[in-house]
Amino acid sequence: MSSVLDQIKQEIARLDTAAVKKNTGKIIQLADGVARVDGLSDVQFNELVQFPHGIRGIALNLEEDSVGCVLFGDVAKLREGDECQTTGQLLVVPVGLGLLGRVVDALGQPMDGKGPITSTESYPVEKIAPGIMPRKSVDQPLQTGIMAIDSMIPIGRGQRELIIGDRQTGKTTIAVDTILNQAKINDQFVKPDGTFPEGFRPVYSIYVAIGQKNSNIARTIRVLEEANALKYTIIVIAPAADNAVNQYIAPFSGAAIGEWFMNNGRDALIVYDDLSKHAACYRQISLILKRPSGREAYPGDVFYLHSRLLERSARVGEKYGNGSMTALPIIETQAGDVSAYIPTNVISITDGQVYLETDLFNQGIRPAVSVGLSVSRVGSAAQIKAIKQVAGKIKLELAQFRELAAFAQFGSDLDAKTKSQLERGGRVVELFKQPPFSPKPIEEQVAVLWAAQNGHFDSLPTAKCTALSLSLQDFLRTRKAALLTRIRLEKALKDDTIAELKSAVEDWKKTVS
């Protein structure tokens, strides 16, 4: 008994016996996850504040005689008059490989019932983006597996490509397809011991769900699980039922998790689904904090909110970690209005956008990528040569086709050239149709596009082109696997590869005619 007491005494003696200085405050107002605190004269902006019952908050408003804190956790336990104190710390989240395959909340706490997170490192949620010197130009491709995007709007590692469109146009599907494709590519190269061969850079994905319905999040997780892609993915959730503060902080937590990969020589892909809801949460917090409101009642710093988040995505040089973080933010438009406040903000921040049109979606053209309004400002430098060879002019041709198709509706007499252009365009549109959650490997995309560009689909019925392209892929996969491997490894179409591809496509045509 006495030894136990001695042990406790020793432990007490080991502690610093000096008086501890604390800076405290008292809650004078509490509403909607925001506390106004009297005191805390030493608090710093964005500092973590400790409240009773283990509740934490962040000091966001430093005013002359009070401090506005946003709160995490069960706010109902707090009362006016409760004491809080500064911590001298910033909000941090666990980071590292231990998070792969896990579903965590905005603070990095597990939400999947798979036990505690095995992570020894943590990163601050708010961090200044890499400056000019650490950055490297974007020149490595990040293949989405979606033919329309990889051929016409290519994305590079470290790029920020916005996915924008109305509700129910397939924005999340594009993001999830991209995650699935990364897992598929990683699986192609992974060794039995879980490592990757030298020179291959796997891409790890982070999916941040902000203000999404729990049912939608569950569906996304199920898709990733079924495709065996969850082992390369981290899911950060702040569903619609969460308080606004968690939804506000979730993308920043996701960015911190992604930065660990970037700083440790790895490549990460982060999807923010979606930033429209994120802006709405920030508006809610700002209005409760009584910050002056501007256009559409958003606070004046809503641009900075998204610019500081998206600037954290970059490709950094060897001295600075030699990794990358590619961002795919999602924005939901209202009735196709891309000129609204938040869409224009994020369009101007990102390096391009994939615009999804409701009309195309309803016509059955899925993914409903609008070729005219979509652009990638840096991705073409990251495109592999093989894709450039077969898809160099495809965007222009498709845009011309759309224009001609609109014009052709008014007249019946068309010259032969226009007719052939329309037919070719119609076939390309069909070829670009792709079912959800079935990303195409880049070598199969090259083969299909090469066949289309060289008129191998011209004699086939337009309506059947989607099915025929799947049949061609199947044929190549089962009978010409070596050719596909060659295209994948060489990353370019050499004369002998083209000859082999030609003979393979002709063989396939015999099977379908």
């Binding site: 501890v20 009297d38 030493d42």
Partner: protein, 134 residues
């Protein structure tokens, strides 16, 4: 609304500074004078109430800055409070008075409160740290 709040706060701050004497201490006589002058005004009761609440908060802050509260568990020597007050007066450069307050929840030791700064040398704080460390 926010502008009105700010105006009220500034007004209350001005009144609080009028309530200080030449040594920078809150003077009861000056506070009474401020209150009677406010009572003489013909202002809507709601507005008057809001201003008085802001004034109360400002005076409380001033009092907090010039008064050190020494919470203790068990007996405290007479001169300890005076020594602590003198030490804080030197540190802050203003006259600081001391008030002692028994607090058995501290178990042992003392806790000194000056404004929103708390200097905790109690057994309870040490045990709390021990609990947090384990």
């Amino acid at each position: 609304m926010a502008k009105e709040d700010q105006k009220l706060r500034q007004q209350a701050q001005r009144l609080a500074s009028l309530s200080l004497d030449s040594t920078g201490q809150v003077s009861p006589a000056r506070v009474s004078a401020v209150l009677s002058s406010l009572a003489a005004r013909t202002v809507a009761p709601l507005k008057q109430r809001a201003l008085l609440k802001q004034y109360e908060a400002a005076v409380k802050r001033e009092l907090g800055r010039s008064q050190v509260i020494i919470e203790h568990s068990g007996p405290i020597a007479d001169d300890t409070a005076a020594i602590i007050a003198a030490s804080f007066s030197t540190k802050t450069g203003r006259v600081i008075s001391a008030v002692t307050k028994p607090n058995d929840s501290l178990l042992a030791g003392i806790r000194v409160i000056l404004g929103d700064h708390v200097y905790d040398a109690s057994a309870k704080a040490r045990l709390d740290r021990l609990a947090a460390a384990s």
